[in-house]
């Protein structure tokens, strides 16, 4: 009986101490983490829109859309996060689209767990640059082992069709939704 009480006391005290420690570290870390995430988004936005100087955040439903403007306040386009399933894990991207909602300004892969050397090539400039000026209508598609013929086509990475296809699918789905949201 005495031992049981001791067990309860030890575990309770330990739990309380551990909880207190976690509260402390959380209060220290969470603003920094939020800042890191904001920095990351900001960096990606200005990478897609090099002339961008500031942006407004608009929340539509659960998604954020960033209206990016240049130094004269002219609208450069919209940036918005897009994510979905890749070959091995989730792919998180930031997508930039021009104000006409028909041409991509670029994409930036923020987070992915694709196969190194193959699928992970989606994070390279070479792959991402293919999306600059890409037409999104009727939808983005990909070709294999040849140069793209049409303005809405990209070339899939050799040996990593699944990852390339995943990026295209995520983009198409997300762009269709963003068009609806922004036209509301």
């Amino acid at each position: 009986m005495k031992n049981t009480i001791k067990m309860i006391i030890v575990l309770t005290v330990l739990g309380l101490l551990s909880g207190a420690a976690l509260v402390f570290i959380y209060r220290y870390a969470s603003p920094l983490i939020a800042q890191n995430q904001k920095d990351e988004t900001e960096k990606a936005i200005y990478k897609i829109f090099p002339e961008g100087k500031n942006y407004d955040t608009r929340i539509i439903g659960e998604d954020s859309v960033y209206k990016v403007k240049d130094k004269n306040g002219k609208l450069l386009g919209y940036a918005f996060p897009a994510s979905g399933n890749g070959y091995q894990g989730q792919i998180d991207m930031l997508v930039g689209i021009q104000p006409d909602l028909a041409t991509l300004a670029g994409i930036e892969v923020l987070d992915s767990q694709e196969t190194p050397g193959l699928g992970q090539e989606i994070t390279t400039e070479k792959f991402e640059n293919q999306f600059k000026g890409l037409k999104v209508s009727p939808s983005i598609s990909y070709v294999k082992n040849q140069k793209p013929q049409n303005p809405n086509e990209i070339e899939a990475i050799t040996g990593a069709t699944v990852s390339s296809k995943a990026v295209v699918t995520i983009l198409n789905e997300r762009i269709a939704k963003i068009k609806k949201d922004l036209n509301k």
């Binding site: 067990m7 030890v10 570290i25 987070d111």
Partner: protein, 196 residues
């Protein structure tokens, strides 16, 4: 006393001899810097939990010791995870779920159960430090070999020139198994030479 430290580096090396903690070993040793950060995070958790366990071992009833160890380890792991996220965001992202997964690393619970719950604070500290350093060293070596062959760099410094063709396999899990196999083989070979 010094033996408690040294043994983790070589004779009882957690990876090469005990073959513990294989999940982070194989998963995050793609680059030297990831191996190094993973090793440091693990060492931090290992030392903190071993010292804590050694400090409170007399207060903890035998029946709930594993639960107690787990709570202690989980607390330190969460601290390490938040710290990395707050200050080394890109490394934390690259390590992904493997930092929170330190909590199930057998090396840590193993040292708490086998060593720290029976020894004094100073010896537990040295033991944890030795084990952590041994773990970190092997991760760095593994990460360096895989990074060198997989991307031609070590700690992101270009070693092999631009003409070097990357061995994709080294960045894949298969490369981790092959490299670790060779490392263990080399280790045993050196040990045999020594014993003669």
């Amino acid at each position: 006393m010094i033996k408690d430290f040294i043994k983790g580096l070589w004779r009882e090396n957690p990876i090469l001899v005990q073959v513990l903690g294989m999940c982070p070993t194989l998963a995050v040793s793609t680059k030297a810097v990831f191996g190094f950060s993973m090793g440091l995070a693990t060492t931090f958790v290992l030392i903190s939990s071993s010292v804590t366990v050694a400090l409170i071992k007399k207060l903890v009833p035998h029946e709930v010791r594993i639960a107690t160890f787990t709570v202690i380890i989980a607390t330190f792991v969460t601290c390490a995870d938040y710290f990395l996220k707050a200050n080394f965001y890109s490394i934390s992202k690259a390590l992904g779920p493997y930092v929170p997964l330190i909590v199930v690393n057998c090396i840590i619970l193993g040292r708490a159960e086998v060593f720290a719950s029976k020894q004094n604070v100073a010896r537990s500290f040295l033991d944890a430090l030795g084990m952590g350093c041994g773990f970190t060293l092997v991760l760095i070596v593994l990460g360096s070999i895989r990074e060198l062959l997989g991307s031609g760099t070590i700690f992101n410094y270009a070693i092999l020139g631009k003409g070097f063709e990357h061995w994709v396999v080294m960045a894949l899990p298969a490369g981790a198994f092959i490299t670790l196999g060779f490392l263990v083989g080399l280790f045993n070979w050196i040990n045999q030479k020594w014993q003669r």
